[in-house]
């Protein structure tokens, strides 16, 4: 009798779990709110245990750097030299651009403001690519804002709590970012598939992206501002083009959430039932 009861209770729980999965489909807004609440509640603890983790990572990193100190220095010196030249070019072009814009009475995009937040959890698992950061509604974070680290886009905000929020990385299965190729100015969709290198989709036949070419946000769909670097074309064969994100996604300590002042615009979000949207 007891064994029967036990078996029944297990069956009930299995059904409950399946029911929960169905519910995510039926009422994603409610589930999202629940996620935000729970993440808020655990954010202080996660933030606390992330600190020693950061310290350990720092020690590992400095150990690795010590071994390559000389070569690194050499490389940086050369880089610096080259970048100085680029800086001159950039300054000249900026001045030229400004004067040309003045001539055309060009209306610039609204200026972006940044919110910087610490990464407190990298929940990982084999199926999701998200980060939890310590900044939320009261810091000005809004759903849909672009997340950057260093020089490139890493993803966007999908869930906002009071003082914590979640970022869907560009490599996640549900991530879709409208992009444009650097040289051909061809539009495409950067689509994550849980691998390290997201795929470029919807490239017309005949357009062949070149390896090493950079990929920028196109600004279509109003989700991201245009012209933010996302990645570099890594491989292209048999019509499948893969892009390496410009930022090393496994080593992000701080992210910048960009509020570029364009409201709404979630048109480009591809809805996938079940997972984070």
């Amino acid at each position: 009798m007891r064994a029967l009861l036990q078996r029944f209770s297990f069956l009930l729980m299995v059904l409950a779990a399946i029911g929960l999965m169905m519910m995510t489909r039926a009422d994603p807004v409610f589930i999202d709110a629940a996620r935000a609440r729970v993440t808020d509640a655990f954010a202080p603890i996660l933030g606390f245990i992330a600190r020693p983790a950061g310290a350990v990572a720092g020690v590992l990193e400095s150990g690795r750097q010590l071994t390559a100190l000389y070569a690194e220095n050499q490389r940086l010196r050369e880089d610096n030299e080259r970048l100085r030249q680029w800086q001159q070019t950039a300054l000249r072009l900026e001045a030229e651009n400004n004067s040309l814009r003045g001539l055309l009475a060009y209306k610039p995009d609204p200026a972006a403001s940044y919110i910087t937040a610490r990464v407190i959890a990298d929940p990982g698992g084999a199926f999701v690519r998200t980060l939890v950061v310590m900044a939320g509604q009261r810091d000005g974070v809004r759903r849909g804002q672009a997340a950057m680290a260093g020089q490139g886009v890493i993803g966007r905000v999908v869930q906002v709590g009071e003082w914590s929020s979640r970022i869907l990385l560009v490599t996640d299965l549900n991530a879709r970012i409208p992009v444009v190729l650097e040289t051909t100015r061809q539009r495409a969709m950067l689509s994550g598939d849980n691998s390290d290198q997201p795929r470029l989709m919807y490239i017309p036949r005949g357009v062949e992206p070149t390896v090493g070419e950079r990929v920028f946000t196109s600004g279509h769909g109003g989700l991201f501002p245009a012209g933010l670097p996302v990645g570099i074309v890594a491989t292209t064969h048999e019509g499948e083009t893969r892009v390496t994100p410009i930022v090393d996604l496994s080593r992000i300590e701080y992210v910048q959430l960009v509020d570029f002042g364009i409201p709404g615009g979630l048109a480009a979000e591809a809805a996938q039932p079940g997972a984070m949207q």
Binding site: A17, G274, A275
Partner: protein
């Protein structure tokens, strides 16, 4: 009578050890370690903890708690809600039916049992996720995760058994 109250409090605290280590394992598993590719294949510490306690002290870590931890993990981790809960309940069930084989035998049996559970858990997750997203996900990460979990299992198991012996040995 004061002693009785303290003793009971102490006992209650000790009885919470399986549950609290499981939650702690979940939170530790979410630490941003900043190792390349680590988070994709991070060993499922929560599953290890549930496996261990389901074998040694199923009276202190009830199946409903395993279910609750699973729901919590899904909410916090961003995975489809109910997926981890399903995996943990099924793992618990499997362990409970096969408990006498794992219990009391050598460590090798405990390890072998975990290997079975880890592979099963990976398979269930993979099927559930593929069905939910209507998208056949590459099984590479799941396989790597299960293998890493099996290889690393002795270390968390050793920590858990230390805790077990020092805090729950009297009963």
């Amino acid at each position: 009578m004061a002693v009785g109250v303290w003793q009971r409090l102490d006992q209650a605290g000790r009885n919470l050890v399986p549950f609290s280590t499981t939650v702690a394992a979940m939170l530790i598993g979410m630490m941003p370690l900043q190792l390349p590719d680590y988070s994709f294949v991070a060993p499922p510490l929560t599953l290890m903890s549930i496996y261990y306690w389901a074998i040694y002290r199923p009276d202190l870590l009830r199946p409903l708690l395993a279910f609750g931890v699973g729901v919590l993990q899904d909410l916090l981790g961003g995975s489809p809600l109910g997926m981890s809960a399903l995996v943990y309940v099924l793992a618990y069930w499997l362990v409970l039916t096969q408990r006498r084989y794992f219990l009391g035998n050598s460590f090798w049996f405990l390890w072998l049992g975990f290997a079975l559970v880890a592979v099963g858990a990976g398979a269930v997750q993979w099927v559930a996720y593929s069905l939910m997203t209507a998208h056949l996900v590459g099984p590479g990460n799941v396989v790597a995760q299960a293998l890493l979990a099996i290889v690393l299992f002795p270390l968390p198991a050793w920590c858990l058994s230390k805790l077990h012996r020092s805090l729950l040995s009297t009963n």
